[in-house]
């Protein structure tokens, strides 16, 4: 270890201002701080600091994503096996999925981090760790057969127009990963909607058994077709869908990690769930068509709702920033997600649009919470005067 440290210290001057490779300063810094926590010490204010930093925070989120990702990999293989009528072992299914998913992750990271490094250098900043999470989220919310170039274009769009034009990490209005998905959704709708795209190889149709539909429960309901997938299958994730979204159990494990470590906002998660339940119950009351009769629990385990509520709505930068605002933000988000699902057959999954919509309104919600705080202080003055 000492040799590595010495080597880094030796080559470091080349990357500093005036050095041979000063244009790679941010890149060098990112690698150095990845390997070693910097030796910088406090000089005033608090002499001691919490051990947490952005790297730790983001790695906890990545760990929380792992159950959903690993299950997703297996499920890609499993769904493919189902479609061609074979029964493969757990390991074979997982291997099939991993081979399909890993290139997606690689493309997302290489494109996104590449752009981030360039912008960090250009701005003279350190590379921010935010994309470590976005870069993992993007492949998890797309269909498995998405062409790699399309994913690369969408990622580049998300990083440049979703994040960097706003000033980089911490300044963006929208969740960057969802910008990537929305980009694909509107630019290449064929690759992200329909019944056939959720299972590897189904669009191509090679070896697919007759009559196999591949439709997701959400897709069926969207066309007001009664879907009979069992609750337990949907909860555990034995159904087609975007890579990371299917297993609600895996997502809940992730949610547990986020809430326990204090990194994910339970306020947003809980209020989003409550919002969805509230809207579903209202629909149940009217029950004008079959879809409106679907109970709240089924809505929660279908599609990407839970994945969105746990991993995407909670993005601290694009969500409401005040604690009270988070309740409101989540609650309305939950309402919109279900409303879009039920009312708009063109968008079987309402979660993506609901989150993006609420990202727009988050600053407004915060504005009112801040005003309320200010008014409480003003009232106190009036009371003191009287």
């Amino acid at each position: 270890m000492k040799a590595l440290r010495n080597y880094i210290d030796k080559i470091k001057p080349n990357f500093e201002k005036g050095g041979k490779y000063e244009k790679l300063q941010s890149t060098f810094d990112a690698i150095e701080t990845f390997l070693y926590v910097p030796k910088k010490v406090t000089f005033k204010g608090s002499h001691i600091r919490d051990s947490i930093d952005m790297k730790r925070t983001m790695s906890v989120v990545l760990i929380a994503l792992m159950p959903a990702l690993l299950f997703g990999m297996w499920n890609v293989g499993y769904q493919h096996s189902l479609s061609i009528g074979e029964s493969n072992g757990i390991f074979d299914n997982f291997l099939f999925g991993a081979i399909k998913v890993i290139p997606l992750i690689a493309v997302s990271y290489i494109t996104g981090l590449g752009i981030e490094f360039i912008f960090a250098q250009y701005r003279g900043h350190e590379v921010n760790e935010g994309f470590l999470v976005s870069g993992m989220l993007i492949p998890m919310i797309v269909p498995i057969d998405i062409p790699l170039w399309m994913l690369a274009v969408a990622t580049a769009f998300a990083v440049i127009f979703g994040k960097e034009v706003f000033g980089g990490t911490g300044m963006n209005v929208f969740n960057p990963a969802l910008i990537a998905r929305a980009f694909i959704f509107f630019a290449y709708p064929a690759q992200i909607t329909g019944d056939k795209i959720w299972i590897a190889g189904l669009t191509e149709g090679k070896g697919v058994i007759d009559g196999f539909s591949g439709a997701t429960p959400l897709g069926n309901w969207g066309q007001n077709v009664v879907d009979n997938t069992s609750f337990i299958d949907m909860f555990l994730g034995f159904m087609p869908g975007s890579i990371g979204e299917t297993s609600k159990l895996a997502i809940l494990i992730g949610a547990g990690i986020l809430i326990f470590t204090g990194i994910g906002s339970w306020r947003i998660m809980i209020s989003t769930l409550l919002g969805a339940v509230f809207m579903t119950l209202i629909f149940n009351l009217f029950a004008a068509n079959e879809y409106m009769k679907v109970d709240p629990l089924t809505h929660i385990v279908m599609g990407g709702f839970l994945f969105g509520a746990v991993f995407m709505a909670t993005d601290p930068v694009s969500a409401s920033q005040t604690n009270k605002g988070k309740y409101i933000y989540g609650f309305i988000l939950g309402i919109f997600a279900i409303m879009i699902r039920v009312f708009n057959p063109a968008y079987p999954e309402g979660m993506m649009l609901a989150i993006l919509l609420m990202n727009t309104f988050a600053p407004l919600i915060d504005y009112y919470i801040i005003e309320a705080n200010i008014n409480r202080r003003l009232k106190r003055v009036k009371k003191a005067v009287n």
């Binding site: 270890m1 440290r5 701080t33 390997l35 070693y36 926590v37 910097p38 030796k39 910088k40 010490v41 406090t42 000089f43 005033k44 204010g45 608090s46 002499h47 001691i48 600091r49 919490d50 051990s51 947490i52 930093d53 952005m54 790297k55 730790r56 925070t57 790695s59 906890v60 350190e126 921010n128 760790e129 935010g130 980089g168 990490t169 911490g170 300044m171 326990f260 470590t261 204090g262 990194i263 906002s265 306020r267 601290p316 930068v317 969500a319 920033q321 005040t322 604690n323 988070k326 915060d366 919470i369 801040i370 705080n373 200010i374 409480r376 202080r377 106190r380 003055v381 003191a384």
Partner: protein, 450 residues
């Protein structure tokens, strides 16, 4: 009627090296230094020159903005050196103490028989006035003001802070005399805030002429700023004074003995102190004698005050005017291989992102490393967890950064102080200098007001 206020938000940082309850004494013939930087918003004008002889209570410098406020010598001896920094700013006035201490006689008196003006005059003349500070801004109180209240917190919840019940043992009478004096300075109340478990002795609970209230909860429950917020919040234009309980005793001594006695009991603590304990010293003393042969080897950080809000001083530096504690912790100037990725059983964190949550009662050795690089504000909801006030910390910080005076006022800048945001700075994932930001905000608004 005394209230019991339960605070939930906050964080007790459990550090190794709490002072043991014994008091050691030292030879007081050493060097002392007054540091004008201890006083916020203070422009010093010297009244002495190098080589002058001073007695205990001799004026050394005064505030250019208010000539009534003088700082006096805590010891008798000779002005040895005046240390100047950049642009000839006075950094330290070093006084070498003589073996025989000569006290200026300010005259004994019963506070109850004196008027507000007479009390102020006595305090100002002896230099003891500087111990009374005001919120907002944490500057020395203006003798012409009539504060709406005076606050005394009888307990300190900061890491390794001294136990005031212990250091005040047997000083109940002097404390009461001090209270009687300061009570005359306000037409409002004197609030004495206690912690039901940390203040069990009678020193405080038998005090008269005060309103006693109780606070419970983690740090910063012991901060006067938090207590003021809950009992007598500061609106624009309000002024509240505050003073440390040990300094109330110094006031008491002025009236009952007629002299400025800067003797105080301080805690010498921190993970790098071999035998952490209390010490009876004279204020502003050089610390080298106090820590000699009592610290571990290695690269160390000496702090006058507690690790959250104290000031960095040299190995042979001096105790700050308002400080009651010397803390020694390790410097963290080393690279840690994959530090952010380790399980971190020995890494203290407010979050549960390191596995140190498995051992909740454990005491930690925390060094001065930032433990990460500075980043944009990304995480939300983190600051609110350690600030038990109805104030939106992130929004206030952003208003200060934007220098938006109007918004700062609306969001409650007058109620806060650096020390109230020390924990916010500690837990901050973005590693920004939040206490400095708050100070800048306060300075900015004070400039705007004058």
């Amino acid at each position: 009627m005394s209230k019991q206020i339960k605070l939930k938000k906050g964080l007790d940082i459990k550090l190794v090296g709490e002072a043991e309850r014994t008091i050691s004494t030292f030879d007081n013939t050493m060097e002392y230094a007054l540091k004008p930087s201890d006083f916020n918003g203070f422009t010093p004008k010297l009244l002495i020159k190098e080589g002058d002889e001073v007695q205990v209570g001799s004026p050394v410098f005064y505030n250019k903005a208010d000539e009534r406020i003088v700082i006096t010598s805590p010891v008798s001896g000779i002005i040895k050196t005046i240390v100047r920094g950049e642009k000839r700013v006075i950094e330290e006035i070093r006084i070498s103490a003589s073996a025989n201490q000569q006290f200026i006689d300010f005259g004994k008196a019963l506070p109850s028989q004196l008027s507000k003006e007479q009390i102020s005059e006595k305090l100002l003349k002896s230099g003891i006035w500087a111990l009374i500070r005001q919120r907002p801004y944490s500057i020395i109180a203006n003798p012409s003001d009539n504060p709406k209240a005076i606050f005394i917190s009888a307990f300190d919840t900061a890491p390794l802070a001294p136990d005031y019940d212990f250091i005040m043992h047997g000083k109940g009478e002097l404390f009461q005399t001090g209270i009687d004096a300061i009570a005359k300075l306000t037409s409002g109340k004197v609030y004495l805030n206690l912690h039901p478990e940390m203040n069990t002795s009678k020193v405080f609970s038998y005090s008269k002429n005060v309103e006693i209230n109780y606070f419970t909860g983690p740090h910063p429950a012991g901060n006067v700023g938090i207590q003021i917020h809950h009992l007598s919040p500061i609106n624009k234009g309000d002024i509240v004074w505050y003073i440390n309980p040990e300094d109330v005793v110094t006031i008491g001594k002025l009236f009952s003995e007629g002299k400025y006695d800067a003797t105080k009991v301080i805690a010498i603590c921190g993970s790098e102190v071999l035998h952490p304990k209390y010490a009876k010293v004279i204020g502003n003393c050089n610390i080298s004698n106090l820590v000699k042969n009592n610290v571990k080897e290695g690269h160390l950080r000496y702090i006058s005050g507690n690790p959250l809000t104290g000031s960095k001083i040299a190995t042979n530096g001096y105790l700050g005017f308002y400080d009651h504690q010397i803390t020694v912790i390790p410097e963290g100037d080393f690279h840690e291989f994959f530090g952010w990725a380790l399980p971190g059983l020995d890494k203290f964190s407010f979050s549960r992102s390191y596995f140190s949550w498995l051992t909740p009662g454990k005491k930690y050795t925390i060094d001065t490393n930032y433990h990460g690089g500075e980043r944009a504000y990304v995480i939300t909801g983190e600051y609110e967890k350690v600030l038990p006030m109805d104030i939106l910390p992130m929004q206030l910080i952003k208003a200060i950064l934007a220098e938006d005076i109007d918004m700062m006022e609306k969001l409650g800048i007058y109620e806060v102080d650096e020390e109230d945001f020390a924990l916010v700075e500690f837990v901050d994932t973005s590693k920004s200098e939040i206490q400095s930001i708050i100070r800048n905000g306060l300075d900015l608004i004070r400039k705007e007001m004058n």
